[in-house]
Amino acid sequence: MRLEVESRVARYAGVFAGFPFGLWILALVVSGIGVLFIHSATLASEEFHGQSVKQSVAILACATGAIPLAMFSRAWLLRHAFVLFSLAVLALLLLPWFGVTINGARRWYAFGSATIQPTEFAKPLLVLVLARWLRLRSRGGFGEAVFVPILITMLPLCLTLRQPDLGSALSMLPILFAMSWVAGARPLHLVSIAVIGVLGLIAVLPLLQGYQLERIAIWLGQNDLSSAESRGAGYQLVQSLIAIGSGGWAGDGLFEGLQNRYDFLPYRSTDFVFAVIAEETGFRGSLLFVALYSGFSLVILAYAYRIRDRFGRLLAAGVAAYFATHLFIHVGVCTGLLPPTGLPLPLMSYGRSSVAGAWIALALVAHACMRRPRELSEDAVL
């Protein structure tokens, strides 16, 4: 009897072998901080009141739902990686016909009152499919290790640009580069691709929408904006800078940020949630937060460091790049380091698609961490 119980416990424990509980807890802590500041951001708003509750529910549901996702067999994942990615690309492709337009962008599918943003799902799936492609090409040439991944990335990237969603589109490039780098791409290839990419970006500047050019202009001239610019196209940037700077050393206190409470900060529960954090917690708090979130990415990298199989390592590295990129773009936009472009911060910003995408990414990391000796051979076959 005793032996039977022990064997049952060992069997259940074996199911969770290698599961990164620490990462899960850390992600829940980060999410909890996010909920707190979403609550602060929406406290005074009748329209958005209740976002923190919705976000909490979404986090709990996704954190729980991500566990079985992590349990999927490696073979299944490898077999269906391109299928899943194709579904995401298809969802992006159909947006112009079936998506809804909100604030001039067509990024969402509407299901009743709820909306789904396929880009948020496409990003972790891009990590999956890139890992799937790069896992066997450690010494591949330019074509296999760099060019094909670029083509793969360009699919969701161009479709996302078309929505338009510049921030999300640009966030895919660092993921590509990080994964190619870890996969063993030659530095010269990457550098030349980067240079070509930057030149390409400059070349397409005249093709950008008027408002996008205007934002770049505002960003370039942010130190001497006219009052009309501050009230017009530069409003988001200026208000975000004011909120962050007003936080000073110690901040205004939780729920006491004046820019936040009095509605000057735009999109403060989504694209500018960091400005709320900075205003209410000051330099100390915002620095701590950046350290925490960067640390979160580094923890994922540490998992990647320990993972022995190449596919799992690439998955973890890609997810780490995914979080780090979002942190840098989100905080960079809020602080004026980068041109204004809306990008939510995974686990922190309000948005159920974003939460789901982040937890799918974490599920990929968990999947990579879990020990599956039998499946490793399968991996080699596929």
Partner: protein, 854 residues
């Protein structure tokens, strides 16, 4: 260590590097630039609201409110809000939009307007609007479709008009809004169906009657909105100004009157003209065919005009300008769209329509504003109200007017504004706003500056409002506010309450005032009729004071209004000739009793013989003529006063000398040693501080020439003649209900000298110069005066007191610049008679005025 692990470590290093970069940026913003950015936040948040202080009331002697502050409302109008929400505006502008569109090349086969014929105007018949509304419903859906011929911005404008018109139909309102929002999702392909039919088919149960039902509903809505417009027109004053049809005359504007619909058309034209002008200016300074994007960027990077300047823009600024130029000259920014944008901007400014608006009307406007009266905005303001009016239906002119004035920084009237540390405390003094010390100081400085910059007071412009300004003016208060992004007040950390001004009760009795004006008018009309004068040639003043206390009971004057030919308006005449020098001043013989008193005191009256009056006295330039009734007879002082004999008073003056004459005037308060004015609270009385006209001979001065004195002081001097004491003039009786201390009258200490003068004055209306005035039945002692002024005109005076045995009232009537032949015993004395007769008809008033008299 494998290569992959090394690369992972390098990736981690990259993440740490980026995090460090973010940390430095945060340090820069939150530590280095924190003060400046907090200041920006303060500018965002804080606001100041003025709490207007009501000005004190002015009450008359019987407590009737003559002037008081009341809340009034200013009505303004934002044309854009109107035309975007009102059915007529929507239909009219949809029609206009299509017509304008047909003039530009957009590759479009769109209808040229919603109806045939001339463009729609607000003054058009209702049937035209109905036809246009039906035209909007009949527009093909392809015109609104994203795959239709219109560019996106133009399409969205047309969609706005059409779906707003559709949503006016109550039954399908929600469906129409929904259709407008999700049009592209619902209809993937453009089609030729009319948009109205599309909606009706979706909503109404009976397909065969659907289109008709929708038409009927839209038309019902249009008619209801037209009715609402008529209702608001009835609320507005008939003096509604028409900005589009004003005629500019000199420095003023004359507004033609017109209906609200005409006015709306005028507004529409006005904005169209403004937008066109703006567009033309824009065209002058820009070109559609500018340098290419890259040329602009290259120019920004390598400017050709590389002349070094002190304030050359930075490279990033130049790049920003280049990009911004690219964005504003986007490929789809056509001239038509630019015109449209300029028009929208022009329409957004509010236009003051009317002030003041009554509270009841405001309630109607505010309650129904959103749905029924879009575009009309109401703002509260304190305004002066005059509940009691004079005989002409105007506010009493002695009250004066008020005006708003912005106080300069060095103005003494500017209040000192002290902001304490309570600024960031909550109302209960507990909750802090988490303002840092430096931020609080910044806020204080800003609020103070703003308060000082915007501090305005309402001050008096003339008469009582001006003279009593210090008492009547309240102290405005203010509230420091925290406002949210939309300007709504969210929190008020600090405020200073407003203090209303003090109420002032004056000694003027409006009933007396009315009688005085009526008497003046009547006597004036007599003169105009008998002397064949033009009404505008009549100038007269009448003042009555309490002979014992010196209370000013009434002051009236003619002309009541003067004509402003430029503005073509009759403006109330407010310069009070009873107190202020206004026309040629010589009082003439009215001063003789005063000199007579002095003559007795010096003994000059009784010393030596006086020549009989031969019709003149003196010789050469030092000569006076006389046509008194006592000629060729020896006259006593009493006779000389009664007959106003120039010859007698010439001789008396020669004996008194100038010094004696001056002393006489000073004794009766008619000449000051040094000052040019007498300061009575509420009044400014002009008074010569020296003998003004040295050219006048001694004899002329003896009979009242070469002196200047206002009628009110003559009345007071006559009160002194009657009572033996010079009363202090008094206009303000009480402030905030507290009666001011009365000054005592100054005894003349002239012994028996007044007795003989009084005898002469009592005889004036009975048998003297005023014998024809019909005042024999009144116990009145008076004196006439007729002074020649330039242009063969006379100043005709009549002053006195009554009852002669125990004086209660003293008066002075003056008809200024009368035709030759008019003297004080004529119309001025008639005015007194009219006054006394009307007083007889008011026994209560008479009893009040003559209290204590026998």
């Amino acid at each position: 260590m494998s290569r992959a692990k090394t690369r992972l470590l390098m990736l981690a290093g990259g993440i740490v590097f980026l995090a460090t970069l973010l940390g430095f940026r945060l340090f820069e913003l939150q530590v280095v630039q924190a003060d400046g950015l907090r200041l920006e936040r303060t500018r965002n948040l804080h606001g100041v609201e003025w709490l207007h202080a009501a000005r004190g009331k002015i009450l008359d002697a019987r407590g009737r409110v003559l002037a008081e502050d009341e809340s009034k409302f200013l009505l303004s109008f934002v044309y854009r809000d109107f035309r975007r929400a009102h059915a007529m505006g929507l239909v009219l502008h949809a029609d206009r939009f299509l017509r304008d569109l047909s003039e530009v090349e957009v590759g479009l086969a769109a209808p040229r307007g919603l109806l045939r014929g001339a463009p729609l105007r607000y003054v058009d018949a209702a049937a035209r609007f109905e036809a246009a509304a039906l035209g909007a419903l009949a527009l093909p859906m392809s015109l609104l479709h994203r795959r239709g011929p219109l560019p996106k911005r133009l399409r969205s404008v047309l969609r706005f008009y059409v779906f707003k018109i559709l949503s006016g139909a109550t039954t399908v309102a929600r469906a129409a809004i929904d259709l407008g929002r999700h049009f592209d999702e619902k209809y993937l392909e453009p089609g030729p169906e009319p948009i109205g039919q599309l909606l009706a088919a979706h909503f109404y149960p009976r397909a065969d009657r659907a289109a008709q039902s929708l038409r009927e509903e839209v038309l019902d809505w249009l008619r209801a909105q037209q009715a609402d417009l008529n209702e608001i027109a009835s609320l507005l004053s008939p003096r509604l100004s028409l900005p589009g049809s004003t005629v500019r005359v000199a420095r003023g504007y004359i507004s033609e009157r017109g209906s609200l619909l005409e006015w709306l058309d005028a507004c529409d034209r006005l904005h169209a003209r403004r937008a066109e002008r703006k567009y033309e200016r824009y065209r002058e300074h820009s070109s559609d065919v500018g340098p290419s994007f890259w040329a602009r960027v290259a120019d920004a990077l390598f400017p050709s005009d590389a002349a070094p300047t002190d304030r050359a823009p930075s490279l990033t600024r130049r790049l920003a300008n280049a990009l911004a130029a690219g964005s504003s000259k986007g490929k789809d920014a056509t001239a038509f769209e630019l015109r449209m944008a300029m028009r929208f901007r022009s329409e957004s400014g509010p236009v003051l329509v009317q002030k003041p608006v009554d509270f009841a009307d405001v309630v109607a406007l505010v309650l129904g504003k959103r749905e029924r009266f879009p575009g009309f905005e109401v703002e509260e303001e304190l305004q002066r109200r005059f509940p009691v009016r004079d005989l002409g239906g105007r506010p009493y002119r002695i009250l004066g007017l008020t005006q708003r004035r912005e106080l300069a920084e060095d103005d003494e009237a500017r209040p000192s504004i002290v902001l304490g540390d309570e600024l960031d405390l909550d109302v209960d003094g507990t909750k802090r706003l988490h303002l840092a010390d430096d931020e609080r100081e910044v806020w204080k400085v800003q609020i103070r500056e703003r308060l000082l910059r915007e501090y305005r007071v309402r001050e008096g412009r003339n008469n009582l409002e001006l003279k009593l300004d210090a008492v009547l003016t309240g102290r405005a208060g203010w509230r420091a506010l925290l406002r949210d992004r939309s300007g709504r007040e969210r929190y008020s950390p600090s405020h200073v309450a407003a203090h209303r001004g003090k109420d002032v009760r004056v000694t003027i009795d409006t009933e007396v005032q009315d009688l005085l004006l009526a008497a003046l008018r009547r006597a004036g009309e007599d003169m105009i009729a008998e002397r064949e004068l033009a009404p505008e040639d009549l100038r007269a003043s009448f003042t009555v004071i309490d002979a014992v206390d010196g209370d000013i009971l009434g002051m009236s004057w003619i002309p009541e209004t003067y004509r402003n030919d430029v503005l073509e308006l009759d403006i109330p005449d407010r310069k009070n000739p009873n107190c202020e020098h206004r026309w040629e001043p010589p009082p003439g013989s009215i001063l003789k009793p005063i000199f007579a008193v002095e003559g007795q005191l010096t003994g000059d009256v009784d010393s030596g013989e006086y020549e009989v009056c031969r019709g003149h006295f003196g010789s050469g330039w030092n000569r006076v003529s006389c046509d008194c009734r006592g000629r060729w007879k020896p006259q006593t002082l009493e006779d000389a006063v009664k007959n106003s004999c120039n010859s007698y008073f010439g001789q008396l003056g020669r004996r008194l000398t100038v010094v004696g004459l001056q002393r006489a005037l000073q004794r009766f308060g008619l000449l000051s040693g040094t000052e040019n004015r007498i300061h009575v609270p509420g009044l400014r009385i002009d008074l010569p501080g020296h003998v003004p006209d040295e050219r006048r001979s001694l004899l002329a001065r003896s009979i009242g020439y070469g002196w200047r004195t206002p009628p009110i002081l003559i009345a007071r001097a006559y009160a002194a003649l009657g009572t033996g004491a010079l009363p202090p003039l008094r206009l303000v009786d009480a402030v905030d209900g507290r009666v001011l201390v009365r000054e005592k009258s100054t005894p003349l200490d002239v012994g028996d000298a007044l007795r003989r003068v009084r005898i002469g004055m009592v005889a004036v209306p009975r048998d003297g110069t005023a014998r024809r005035a019909g005042l024999q039945g009144d116990r009145i002692a008076a004196k006439t005066g007729t002074a020649e002024v330039s242009g063969n005109k006379n100043n005709a005076w009549f002053a006195g007191y009554l009852p002669w045995d125990r004086p209660r009232l003293a008066f002075c009537v003056t008809f200024w610049k009368c035709p030759e032949g008019v003297h004080g015993g004529d119309y001025p004395a008639d005015a007194v008679r009219y006054f006394l007769r009307s007083l007889d008809a008011k026994p209560a008033l008479r009893a009040r005025l003559f209290r204590g008299a026998r």
